[in-house]
């Protein structure tokens, strides 16, 4: 299929899928709120106010206040930054490491493929949360360390996907043609293989962003997230858990924020997958 034609079809299919359009709208709103957090949040997220400990939700404090009297709504808005940055950056990290690994393994085959695939198998037997926990236990908490931890955990998964897609693209006539005219392997990989596997990787990438956001929240919930007082949704829930009986809003609202963000990315991924696999459309 011609490239322009395919793009048109993708856009058409995507637009017809109302739920994924909803996902895009939700994600855009969340991203905008994260970017505009300094201007739209009503209070300073780390400003303490002892007089307002555990105030329940009201018109002044939409999501109530926490044990330090900090405005929960402002903290949720600021916390979106951590979730989105970690979600997107760790997936980019894993793509930068995983795509070359997978593409080379799939394209070269033989011993290279064997070695890469064995390593993938080994690293994939660690559940993502547990692998992230191990890496953070070694490196200590911090924003860049979380991105690295989740990125490393996702790398074998991306590599495996890139390898699989490369294997099917490799057999295409245009690759054979490129080889026949004497193009070098690196050129074939960059010009012909990469653009053709990118669709598959994009779908999974969106899905992995959703996963990465959940993993970040989980690690912050465990207590291995960004350092306080920077608000992050997972650690806000952890702090609220002790007060579940008196101040349930402290856990309920940040959790809702995580859920809505992950949900929007999953809706988008669902729509993209329908395009990739028309059999399941409907």
């Amino acid at each position: 299929m011609a490239k322009t034609n395919r793009k048109g079809l993708i856009l058409y299919t995507f637009k017809r899928n109302k739920t994924s359009v909803l996902g895009v709208i939700m994600a855009v709103i969340i991203v905008c709120l994260a970017i505009l957090a300094p201007w739209v949040s009503p209070y300073d997220p780390i400003d303490q106010n002892v007089k307002l400990q555990y105030a329940s939700p009201s018109s002044a404090h939409l999501c109530g206040t926490d044990g330090y009297g900090r405005d929960e709504f402002s903290r949720i808005l600021w916390g979106s930054r951590v979730s989105l940055v970690v979600g997107i950056a760790s997936v980019l990290f894993s793509m930068v490491c995983g795509i070359p690994l997978g593409v080379i393994a799939g394209y070269k085959g033989g011993r290279v493929d064997n070695v890469v695939s064995r390593f993938n198998d080994i690293f994939m037997s660690f559940p993502i949360v547990i692998f992230g926990l191990l890496i953070l236990a070694i490196m200590g908490p911090g924003l860049f360390k979380i991105i690295t931890a989740i990125g490393v955990a996702l790398t074998p998964r991306i590599a495996r996907l890139a390898r699989g897609s490369t294997l099917s693209v490799k057999e295409m006539p245009y690759i054979e043609a490129a080889r026949a005219v004497g193009q070098r392997d690196t050129k074939i990989l960059v010009l012909h293989v990469l653009p053709n596997i990118f669709g598959d990787i994009l779908v999974m990438g969106t899905l992995w962003i959703a996963t990465a956001i959940i993993v970040e929240a989980s690690l912050s919930f465990i207590g291995l997230g960004v350092r306080p007082p920077t608000p992050s949704w997972g650690s806000m829930i952890r702090d609220g858990l002790d007060q579940l009986t008196n101040a349930p809003w402290l856990s309920v609202f940040p959790g809702l924020a995580i859920f809505l963000t992950v949900f929007s990315f999953n809706l988008i991924a669902d729509g993209l997958r329908d395009i990739a696999d028309p059999k399941l459309r409907g």
């Binding site: 739920t19 064995r118 198998d121 080994i122 690293f123 994939m124 037997s125 660690f126 559940p127 993502i128 949360v129 547990i130 926990l133 191990l134 890496i135 953070l136 236990a137 070694i138 959703a210 959940i214 929240a217 989980s218 919930f221 465990i222 207590g223 291995l224 829930i237 858990l241 579940l244 009986t245 349930p248 856990s251 309920v252 959790g255 995580i258 859920f259 992950v262 949900f263 999953n266 809706l267 669902d270 059999k279 399941l280 409907g282």
Partner: protein
């Protein structure tokens, strides 16, 4: 079949060895090392040296690795740096809580997920299907610990039906079950979302196949078509997904244990991270990875039982 099973089980050994090796070396690159972690930052140089000598940490890393592997083969997993008790004892104590939780979570996921998947696939593009699809998407978008907190708030804090925290008394089956219900449903609902999605999509794939059309054409009753022709084939990819989501199951059990303060392996692992108890940490991680590998093996074997076309080689 038996031969295949045995060979696959033997193949787990190199994987486990690799996992143990990765964890061993990763943990040893920690600045300061376990001795500093155990003694705290105020320890004197001599104290650290003495403990390092006692723990064998002053020997070359390759020698340490050899001793570690040899000990492991003899079932000696070392001592916890905090409690000073053998790690194996601690693990044996915590294991039942985690096994109860993961097994019941997976079971609930299968018992609810497979029927929901079939039901929604058969009503494709009708209200029950939409409801099921949105429901499962909500489930996979929900962090386990958040669902756990919501269930805990409603059923334990507000309605007072279940205990808020703890794992119950292992010897008392009633208390054990009573403490298990909420955590099991937390994990079970998440697994249901994953399993129902997969069952639905593989069911849809199968329904379009020629043999299903043939069966319908020759007048086989709809019931038979669904259960004999479609379901059996649809279950094959669904079985794999259970192996695929073994990681989700294990990771989920860690978080669920933390929410409900169940004294299982997950909670033990998180404490080991906080206390920098590397001996405990490395063994718990190895156990979780081994569980993932074993679940994958189990699904591969199940695969053949469901699908006689697959030959064991």
């Amino acid at each position: 079949m038996l031969q295949y099973t045995i060979r696959r089980m033997l193949l787990i050994i190199p994987t486990l060895w690799a996992v143990v090796t990765v964890v061993f070396f990763l943990i040893r690159i920690v600045p300061g090392g376990p001795a500093v972690a155990a003694l705290g930052t105020y320890a004197t140089e001599e104290q650290i040296r003495a403990l390092e000598h006692q723990m064998g940490l002053d020997r070359p890393i390759i020698v340490q690795y050899g001793t570690f592997l040899a000990d492991l083969c003899r079932g000696n997993l070392g001592k916890s740096l905090i409690t000073r008790r053998p790690v194996i004892q601690e693990i044996v104590q915590a294991l039942p809580y985690t096994v109860d939780l993961t097994a019941s979570g997976l079971l609930l996921g299968i018992l609810m997920g497979v029927p929901i998947g079939i039901f929604t696939a058969l009503r494709r593009n009708r209200p029950p299907d939409y409801l099921g699809r949105v429901g499962s998407l909500i489930g996979i978008s929900m962090p386990e610990f958040y669902l756990g907190i919501l269930l805990m708030y409603v059923f334990a804090v507000r309605l007072n039906l279940f205990p808020v925290i703890g794992g119950g008394d292992l010897k008392d089956w009633g208390s054990r079950l009573y403490h298990l219900i909420l955590p099991a449903f937390t994990l079970g609902i998440i697994m249901t979302a994953f399993i129902s999605r997969m069952t639905r999509s593989s069911m849809l794939n199968v329904i379009g196949e020629d043999y299903v059309r043939t069966a319908r054409a020759k007048g086989v009753s709809e019931r038979m078509v669904v259960y004999k022709h479609a379901l059996r084939n649809a279950l094959i990819p669904t079985t794999t997904v259970i192996g695929l989501y073994a990681g989700v199951l294990m990771g989920g059990s860690v978080l669920t244990e933390i929410v409900y303060s169940r004294p299982g392996l997950g909670k033990m692992m998180v404490f080991a991270v906080k206390d920098r108890d590397y001996m405990t940490l490395q063994m718990v991680i190895v156990i979780f990875s081994a569980a993932v590998s074993l679940l994958n093996l189990l699904t591969d074997i199940l695969y053949g039982l469901i699908d006689p076309r697959i030959e064991y080689r």
